[in-house]
Symmetry: C2
């Protein structure tokens, strides 16, 4: 970024409300009112969950996330909440993500300051995860959140589950995971077969947890209405396993089984860096740089 | 682009000076002093030519290009100029290129207004080319510029070579081609062989002029110091023949001859749209859009 341009952070808070439109709007409005640029709001009724993506200067990011959290803590009672998605808090997860050239250290510091404020002012205990984790056991969000609100409520906090900020559990808002991470990429590859076992087998071959590609989470699904199956993924570090690498690995696995790829789907936004890395590998252009995107040169220096 | 954001135009004027540093700097400084954002300045001594890339709001683009042209007309005498690159003017070529969502019609109008001013104030006759051409014969720059300054000077202007603005030739600054076009992409693919004939054959197979891929210009060269050969291209419409399509076509041609691709090279800048189209084709993701690049959402709305 050019001189005089402040650096930006992306923040992607997840709230446990995906059905009551007035609550969804109140949370998103509170974030926007602080001055953050709300890039996306996704509410899902089945998951009963909403995900806000916003971008702001670092100080403003804390204020904006806190404004949204205040509404969520006031309006959401997890004792009444039902939904498919695992969750432990009204403000369930708040990751701070570097935008463009922002260093990860800034995001870690923001996470810790936001977490301290969440406990101090709203009495919501906080677990730090990802790059902001205080110890290795808490790096993985799934592990921090295991059992969800009900387990924390009904079984009390065992010694190894003490929050990093505060103590116990907020009676209605539960606890919050606050973290720092690089951008996640949601990516699917759809295959021309109705045999869901193919997608499940390939997902198992591909995913990191069964020895496949590092930083890839993968599941196989049927897309019954289209007569296709899907390998559905989260790429948790596109610098290691990018879209091109994952696509070609799945394509090769499918072809080995005599099955063609129908298409792939990049879900939501990706950072420009991920697009550039995909092109580098796809056309064997190791020297290709983000700075060669004309818009980057112009926009990033504004 | 968001509301309140003015649209931008890219302008890539080529001047016939690549050796005298003080003239190169004076031209680039004059452009920047008007307020345009100078993105790149390339000066080549063998070609004795410089290429400035700048971005500005439309009105400012005319003023900036004119400021550079004024210096060039004053400082460059084509009667003294030697260099490998074809040229017919001190201000040789001035293309206006849409940036981001700017319509081509705006660039065509800018070209015509700039051309009129060049003749009126500097007495440099102008030929319009590309999208700004007044007739089909002048769409191709090569055709407009054939024979260069010397032919126009020594053989006078035949009826079919009358300029679109003004008449005759400026005694020292020659004539200028002013145009509107989409961004060009300079793209090379390097092959693991020392046999330059392979590159020449593949270039002939690929290029539009011999019935290959539309909007592709290609030549074959030896990269003697690296023990490689190169298919060197200009992609004149990446919407038709994008980087991925050209790369895979050349790779297939090379493999048919038992030769591997060493790497490819994207030279200079490409528009984000070209990157997105490359990814769409490379990973079979037909629905992928520029708006899915997070930076585009944030920067373009600033």
């Amino acid at each position: 970024m050019g001189p005089g341009v402040s650096q930006l952070v992306e923040c992607v808070p997840n709230f446990s409300e995906g059905r009551r439109r007035e609550v969804i709007n109140a949370i998103a409005d509170a974030i926007g009112r602080e001055g953050a640029r709300v890039v996306d709001v996704q509410a899902d009724a089945a998951h009963n969950r909403m995900v806000v993506t916003f971008v702001a200067e670092p100080e403003l990011a804390i204020a904006s996330a806190f404004a949204g959290a205040s509404v969520a803590v006031e309006r959401i009672d997890l004792n009444q909440h039902r939904g498919e998605h695992p969750r432990m808090g009204a403000v369930d997860v708040v990751p701070f993500v570097p935008f463009a050239d922002l260093p990860m250290t800034v995001c870690i510091e923001l996470a810790h300051r936001f977490g301290a404020r969440l406990w101090k002012e709203l009495r919501v205990p906080v677990y730090y995860y990802g790059e902001a984790a205080r110890n290795a056991e808490r790096r993985e969000l799934e592990r921090v959140r295991r059992g969800g609100f009900e387990e924390l409520r009904d079984h009390g906090s065992e010694p190894d589950r003490e929050p990093d900020e505060g103590a116990g559990l907020h009676p209605t808002a539960g606890a919050t995971a606050v973290g720092a991470r690089i951008p996640l990429i949601a990516y699917n590859v759809n295959l021309k077969t109705e045999d869901v076992q193919v997608a499940k087998d390939i997902a198992r071959t591909i995913r990191a947890s069964s020895g496949g590609m590092p930083n890839v989470k993968a599941l196989g699904f049927a897309l019954a209405d289209r007569g296709l199956v899907q390998v559905s993924m989260n790429l948790t570090d596109y610098r290691v396993s990018n879209i091109w690498k994952v696509f070609t690995a799945i394509k090769a696995e499918a072809e080995r089984r005599g099955i063609d790829v129908q298409e792939s789907e990049i879900v939501g936004t990706i950072p420009l860096d991920a697009a550039v890395r995909t092109i580098k590998d796809a056309v064997m252009e190791p020297a290709f740089k983000m700075d060669q995107i004309l818009e980057k040169r112009v926009w990033a220096s504004e």
